[in-house]
Point group: C2
Chain length 295, copies 2
């Protein structure tokens, strides 16, 4: 049970955590914090938060749990604003999609990693933003990855673990580096390809025509290119090492595939496509059918 | 009105044409032809075709319209089997996803392009195969591209145009080369990226884990990697010039993007992502919301 939860950044991710904890009666008071006054007022009207402050230092007064759900590019300044204002024994966790950069930001702002800081990442989201888009079921049956470090207090980790389980999520553990590699492959790289493909078509002569002849497969394939450009710039910068390496590798493999096609190497093509179809079909068999929560 | 329609290849594409024409009463008799006896029998039971023959030469006897809906790799042998057996004045059209290769196959088999041959491509489909998957509404509000050549009889083109409109489709015209470029960009290239991405993940260490952490966005992005590998090998080989060129270009741009990420060039990233989001959102605004028909 959390007595007072401070949510820094009351958007889809932060708002949905507050709603989920309220639904199961696992939180006393919720204090919101953010830059947009209108969004905070709306969050209060909707009952997602009880009260708010636009000052992070004020928002965390007396909070035993702090959830930082700001964009990756705002982590450093948020941590800096919290420094010296956290309650003794307060647990701090976050929702950032890359973990090495968040850990580095925390280390710099706090002058070393506080034992009560548990880096985390709920693998859930939609293309929507803001508290209006938040809902209590966002984390139901979704995975949350926690990446505690050697100096993280196990009791703090256990509290964050419990919090996410109360929201219906499955909690998994990884190292920071492994998390960033897995996410580069399964989320960040696909976003780069979708953005890149749509951008390529948009820059072609007669691009209106290109999009006119694109059918349903193209629609699904490029849906993630409608994601927030600022958020994705921040993710790229935060996970630059893992992502740039994987994108380079993919690029080299696509050049090889282009060569196989140009040379008419049907055997090689069939091998790649068959292996992919098999993996994709097996992946789908092993997943819940609800495709609503993306990222 | 078509008196006798011969459908060579009674699968999703061929079967759906027959169903659609029957529904609007625009066809007298439908004769099916294919390699699989079970599928032909099933097509007859379902009322998609009236009768069938496994011999293309026999199937087209007395047909005033012939629709060739076989895989691209089987076009050449199908045309060769038809040579000398078509009725005087018969119109022949096809459903191949690449057009230069089909035209070349027809030219070789018939010893020059017959004036009654109208190359075509309905931009519709699902991941399903076979006559069981066919349905009368597949072409409703979908586009069909016809690519008649200088030596194509305009009256033949007009008959094919009318046939597709009767199925509820919008008919557009392009040159063979332009068709192959547009399809390389909007359909063939996305399929290569989806196949390639899933294959890359499948070959990674701990690939089970990779797929386990993939969320809804990944599912949508890679849905087309479940497509038929043989069909896609054939498409790659048939459209090798346009596709290999475009894939090479995309690969080079992804390598540049990897460099921008590695160098932390946030401005460049934001520019690409913003342009893509804008194009994608505009594309979606201009499209019907039904996402059922892919390819």
């Amino acid at each position: 049970m959390i007595r007072r939860l401070a949510v820094i950044g009351v958007g889809l991710i932060g708002g949905s955590l507050a709603r989920a904890l309220r639904r199961v009666g696992q939180v006393g008071e919720v204090v919101g914090c953010g830059r947009g006054l209108g969004n905070l007022q709306r969050a209060q009207e909707l009952g997602v938060i009880d009260r708010y402050s636009q000052d992070p230092a004020e928002a965390v007064v007396g909070a035993d749990m702090v959830f930082v759900a700001v964009p990756l590019g705002a982590m450093a300044s948020t941590f800096a604003a919290l420094q010296g204002h956290l309650q003794e024994g307060a647990v701090v966790t976050d929702g950032g999609s890359a973990k090495a950069s968040v850990v580095a930001d925390a280390r710099a702002a706090f002058g070393g990693l506080p034992p009560g800081f548990v880096p985390g990442h709920p693998i859930a989201g939609t293309e929507q933003n803001g508290v209006e888009a938040s809902f209590a079921e966002l984390y139901q049956d979704r995975r949350v990855i926690l990446t505690p470090l050697c100096d993280t207090d196990p009791a703090a980790t256990a509290r964050v673990d419990l919090m996410w389980r109360a929201c219906g999520a499955e909690v998994n553990y990884m190292t920071v580096e492994h998390h960033d590699e897995v996410l580069a492959a399964t989320s960040h790289l696909p976003h780069m390809l979708a953005f890149g493909l749509v951008d390529l078509l948009a820059r072609m002569r007669e691009n209106d025509e290109m999009f006119r002849y694109a059918a349903g497969g193209f629609r699904d394939f490029t849906r993630i290119a409608s994601s927030n450009p600022v958020m994705w710039r921040d993710i790229c910068l935060a996970n630059r090492d893992a992502l740039s390496g994987m994108l380079s590798q993919f690029s080299a493999e696509m050049e090889q595939l282009a060569q196989s096609i140009a040379q008419g190497d049907g055997e090689q093509l069939l091998e790649i496509f068959s292996r992919a179809k098999q993996a994709r079909d097996a992946f789908i068999d092993g997943q819940p059918s609800d495709g609503d929560n993306s990222l």
